[in-house]
């Protein structure tokens, strides 16, 4: 179990694989104000990164992995601040349309 929810915080722990993307997405959709804690996370699969990019929760903690900490987190933060890859005009990535498949 690498996605654990405690109150309003989702903890991503250890190696988060592609299968964790679904759990994370549902957790983030369930609580719009949820925070995500990455302090004990070692690796994030692209699908998980994509979920974080899509729902843009507040991120807490700094993972020990240098790639995560040095490249992925800053990229997520910049995307949240609107200085990531500019989106095309017709694109509305920040307002995800949610309806989770059960």
């Amino acid at each position: 179990m690498t996605v654990r929810t405690d109150h309003d915080t989702v903890f991503l722990e250890g190696d988060c694989g592609v299968e964790d993307a679904e759990n994370l997405a549902s957790a983030l959709m369930a609580a719009a104000s949820a925070r995500v804690d990455l302090s004990s996370c070692r690796q994030l699969h692209s699908a998980v990164v994509q979920a974080l990019l899509t729902f843009q929760p507040s991120l807490d903690g700094s993972p020990g992995d240098s790639f995560l900490n040095g490249f992925v987190l800053p990229a997520l933060e910049r995307a949240a601040a609107g200085t990531g890859i500019p989106s095309s005009p017709e694109q509305t990535p920040n307002t995800p349309l949610l309806e989770l498949p059960e």
């Binding site: 993307a21 990164v49 994509q50 990229a75 890859i85």
Partner: protein, 642 residues
Amino acid sequence: MDELLAQFLIEGPDLVQQGSDALLALERRPDDRTLMDDAFRAIHTLKGSVGLFNFPAMAATLHAAEDVLSAVRSGVRAPDRTTIDALLSVLTQTERWLSQLEAGGGLADDAGDIARRLAEQLNASAAAPTQAVLSGVLPEWAMALRHVNPSSGALTAIRYTPFDGAYFSGDDPVNLMKAMPGLLDIRLGLRPTEAGAPYDPFACRLIIEAVATGTAAEAKSVFRLVSDQVEIAVLPATEAKVPDRVGEAEGQGVIRTLRIDAGRVERLASLVDDLVTARTALTSLSSLATTGLDPSAVAQALTAQSEGLDRLVSQMHQQVMALRMTSVAPLLRRFPRVARELAGSLGKDIDFVVEDNGVEADKKVIEGLFEPLTHLIRNAIDHGVEAPQARERAGKARKGAIRLTANAVAGQLELTLEDDGAGIDPAAIRVAARARGLLSAAALGSLDDAGAIDLIFMAGFSTARAVTDVSGRGVGMDAVKTAVQSLGGRIVLDSTPGLGTTVHLRLPLSLTLTKVLIVVSDREPYGVPMDSVLETLLVPADAVTVIRSGRAFNWRDQTVPLLSLGSLVGRDAETSDADLKVLVIRVGPDLVGVTVDAIQDRADVAVRPLDGLLAGMPGVSGTTLLGDGRVLMILDPEALVG
């Protein structure tokens, strides 16, 4: 040194040579599959060997070259000029790296930069779209990346847009970025989805952009499995970099190891066996002497033994000298590549032919020739061979022809470098010499054309109007002459304006025994090679005529100038009221008398070329050890008097 590395350093240069030979031939016969295979095999083996050590820049460069060659083999890419150029540059650099490793201490700090530049050069000669990117037409996304990464060096920009089904096919696009060498930055974005569609956590919508210091070739290799989803662009350096000078820092040592025919070692071993036997005989002889044997019998036996030893020692000397004899072919074979690179950088086209004629010479002589020959070839290409248009106007073939030939002539190594270029114009030389104040107008006027051409050997002479990158950077023909002389050689230049220039180098084939005459001046002994001494005489003091500041005497109805060895070598001149001891010496076509204090023995000596601090000392061709341990300087009369 690590044994594997030592082995690699022996094989590496051979592989580089094999690769370049094949590539140069491939340019002439682009359809020859064997040549492609040969070049591929050489580079592949080099790459494989480098992989055993931790030289990432070298490995990456050779890897990129191997990729290009395999594209050539599979017909994806043509072995055109740019491709061959790029591959040859890789080999030239590999050779430089090998000599850096040989010198110890690993690759130089700029290895990464060089590797990047080479990889770009390999890419630049690839497909046209890449070429467009390289020539500055950057896609918008790449421009944006350049903007946020204002580093000065060249960077590689990557934009990866994975397919929707990427996660299902097991791809992990974000983490693939980890593999990119020299990663500097990542940017993330999302592709738009259809409005109203629910979020599908397993449909990949990522866009990943990255900037790295790794090369485009490295990026291609990292993303080779998803190449259809990745765009790669080279962000040019913000400050243009000055490329390395062609051929610089190359080939201080050519042949560092010596490979010896096993038969020669066998012969040496058997000579050493004989030597051991001779020593045993001597020991028994000395014990005989102590038993009070008749002294004359002992003396006789000793003489016989000593003769036997003499014979053995001289045979061993011959054999050991023979060990040092190596073929000139590897030296000469290096030049077509150097020449091609130079010609390319000067926009000239040349045909470079090398003939080694199976000549062998002393390792030391061969090692010392790389630099002077490189310089002469530079000159031939830069100043000799005209630009293609000028050649056409002069009714010559567009391609210049340069031929480098080695021959063994009368116990000497003769190297001839011929070009069919513009030749040397004696009038231009006179003008230049006058302008540089090397000689007075009167002195210049008295020079014939050959003498004028010889002026280019004077220090400080250079007629190149502009200092080019290739030659004309202060190291002139005087340096070439000094280098050749320090090997005991001579250089002669022969030029016909409009038709070309021929340079003849004559060097000793080997540094075997030389007969010298030992003379003394100011209490110091010197060796004068016997072959330059015509006669030794006693000249009565009153037979010497004083002519202005000089002296002369009459020898066989010729007036011969008389010089003093002491003053020539910068010590005190001989002072004698009695008869003068004079050596008559041949200097080129002229004769000179040289006074000495005493004439001692003749001796057979093994002349060692000067090295270390003494290297380049004028007028001295080498040294040898005398029987009493003193060092005897062997004079080079021609250099000393001239």
